[in-house]
């Protein structure tokens, strides 16, 4: 159904109000990031981004995402295969647990790892005896990020695979294809765009996560600060141009995510879960 202009008298008013709300609330903050970052010119913008601490933060952010995102992508496919292709008791409980990280405060998602692996955590002493560092180290950042971003891929795949049904896979199996062949040749091609969509959202959150990683990081400059934490460190040191320059890199990441996400919604809307079809 095509949207048609009705209530001709009210349309301009509604449009103006909508633009006002979105402009002030959402677009203005985005603009301010770049305006502040370039406040003292292009050279002053680039300088903080080429500092060793900033480069280390970018590298660490990429490392953490490179571990967390594939883990959650594989989990998402496994969970969707179990949930959308089989009938078993306790399914809705399982789905609730998969969604749970979305309703936890990011700070709590960091806290739980400290409760397990911190100096006074359940496994703290054992880790200390064996000289393994998790909290205030990269592995802690990975664990916190993995927990926060766990539902993203599964949530895209489960409804889509439920909609698609198992007919094509059943046909392939009946014709003699093996289990893995069926998965690679039938299932994966059917879910690839939704998988990409989920990975995209998962990655954006993994690279931008702040609360959960700030709890487990200890913010050691150049060692355990991811890019969002680097923004905070600079900001608290009153290095505003540097903070906004680092923030602009993250804002750029957000914008690229938004563009790719929108393209996927336009081009492949039939191959995404129903709630993503615009």
């Amino acid at each position: 159904m095509n949207p048609t202009v009705r209530l001709p008298g009210l349309a301009p008013l509604f449009l103006a109000l909508t633009l006002l709300v979105l402009g002030v609330l959402i677009v203005f903050p985005l603009g301010v990031v770049f305006q502040q970052a370039f406040a003292k010119g292009f050279a002053a913008y680039l300088e903080p981004l080429t500092q060793p601490d900033a480069l280390a933060a970018i590298r660490l952010t990429l490392t953490v995402a490179a571990i967390s995102v594939p883990l959650n992508a594989v989990f998402g496919v496994a969970a969707a295969w179990s949930i959308a292709r089989f009938e078993f008791k306790g399914k809705s409980l399982l789905v609730t647990f998969i969604d749970l990280p979305f309703s936890m405060s990011p700070v709590v998602s960091g806290l739980v790892w400290v409760l397990l692996f911190g100096a006074q955590g359940w496994f703290g002493e054992w880790l200390l005896d064996h000289d393994i560092k998790i909290i205030f180290a990269t592995s802690g950042l990975v664990l916190a990020t993995t927990l926060v971003t766990l539902p993203f891929v599964a949530r895209e795949l489960i409804p889509l695979m439920q909609d698609q049904g198992a007919d094509e896979e059943a046909a392939a199996l009946t014709l003699g294809a093996g289990g893995w062949t069926t998965f690679w040749r039938v299932t994966l091609p059917n879910i690839k765009w939704a998988l990409l969509y989920g990975v995209l959202l998962c990655n954006a959150r993994a690279m931008g996560e702040f609360g959960a990683v700030s709890v487990v990081s200890g913010s050691v400059r150049g060692l355990t600060t991811t890019l969002p934490l680097h923004v905070e460190v600079l900001y608290n040191d009153y290095e505003f141009v540097g903070a906004f320059a680092a923030a602009s890199v993250l804002a750029g990441l957000g914008l690229v995510t938004l563009v790719l996400k929108t393209i996927l919604e336009w081009r492949h809307s039939g191959e995404l879960s129903a709630s993503r079809r615009h």
């Binding site: 449009l15 959402i26 301010v32 295969w81 309703s103 289990g179 690279m207 938004l258």
Partner: protein
């Protein structure tokens, strides 16, 4: 459902926990799902649930009734409630405009609604602070009317408004799209005014989605950290949010206290969710009656 249909035994009552299927890979997929979920979600959750009680029941109670903890819980839940409530009419307005009218640039504007999802929270936090600080453009504007925004609970509210808006818009958009236009037209033909049509036809249809959007925005706002701590000012008893208090307790190596606050947040959120579900159920029953 589909797997069940494929099964030759689907019709028979089964006592087994899983219905048979010709599809392979269940043990591997399910095994991996449960192991992963157990390690990443369930084990940490058990720690969160058990560790507060190291303080004993009275210790947990003492922690949760510390004035600073109480004030922070009140602020986090209060500001989240008000922000989510404000986002209901704002989200309805934006969702309505984007689904009902055609205008140049509509899809671009529609894409921007998701920006709070895509923008890292710390980035949003420092940007909002720059805008609403006393020297910032909107901060100075509101100050002329005697309203301090940044570094007060108002700042917390503004950040949560930013975070929550897409939840309401995205929940109501599909409902507005599917709404039967004929019913509206019938109402119009029968002489209903615009206001009546909205009140009697549109609103009842979108109400469940509005409530869902509200609860999603609320749940996200309660635990929000990154976009809030910069603009909040973090004054004890005044503008300190509950997640920040968890961080402070952890810095003092008060693990059990931090866990107690975290568990309390989870419990209150869960209670709120149950209440929302109750309202939804009530509305659904009334709709059917």
């Amino acid at each position: 459902m589909t797997a069940a249909a494929l099964s030759p035994l689907a019709g028979k009552p089964r006592t087994r926990w899983k219905q048979p299927s010709i599809l392979p890979g269940f043990p591997l997929a399910m095994g991996w799902t449960l192991t992963y979920l157990g390690l990443v979600v369930v084990l940490p959750l058990i720690a969160l649930i058990l560790r507060p009680w190291e303080l004993g029941l009275s210790g947990v109670w003492a922690t949760l009734t510390e004035p600073r903890v109480l004030a922070s819980l009140r602020l986090s839940f209060g500001a989240a409630f008000l922000a989510a409530l404000t986002n209901v009419p704002l989200g309805l307005l934006v969702g309505w405009t984007l689904t009902r009218y055609e205008f140049p640039g509509r899809r671009i504007i529609d894409a921007f609604v998701d920006l709070p999802f895509a923008l890292p929270t710390a980035v949003a936090g420092i940007a909002l602070t720059a805008i609403y600080a006393p020297t910032g453009p909107l901060g100075a504007f509101f100050l002329k009317f005697g309203i301090k925004t940044a570094y007060t609970p108002v700042g917390v509210y503004i950040a949560l408004l930013f975070i929550g808006l897409p939840f309401v818009v995205r929940t109501i958009q599909p409902v507005l799209q599917d709404l039967d236009r004929e019913v509206e037209e019938a109402a119009q033909t029968l002489g209903a005014t615009n206001l009546q049509r909205f009140q009697l036809v549109v609103l009842p249809a979108v109400l469940p989605a509005l409530i869902s959007g509200f609860s999603l925005a609320f749940a996200r706002a309660v635990g929000e950290y990154g976009s809030v701590i910069f603009i909040a000012g973090n004054m004890p008893l005044k503008s300190e949010i509950a997640p920040l208090l968890i961080v402070i307790k952890l810095e003092q190596y008060d693990y059990a206290g931090a866990a107690a606050v975290g568990l309390a947040m989870l419990a209150i959120s869960f209670g709120a969710l149950l209440a929302v579900n109750g309202v939804q159920l009530f509305l659904a029953r009334r709709g059917r009656a």
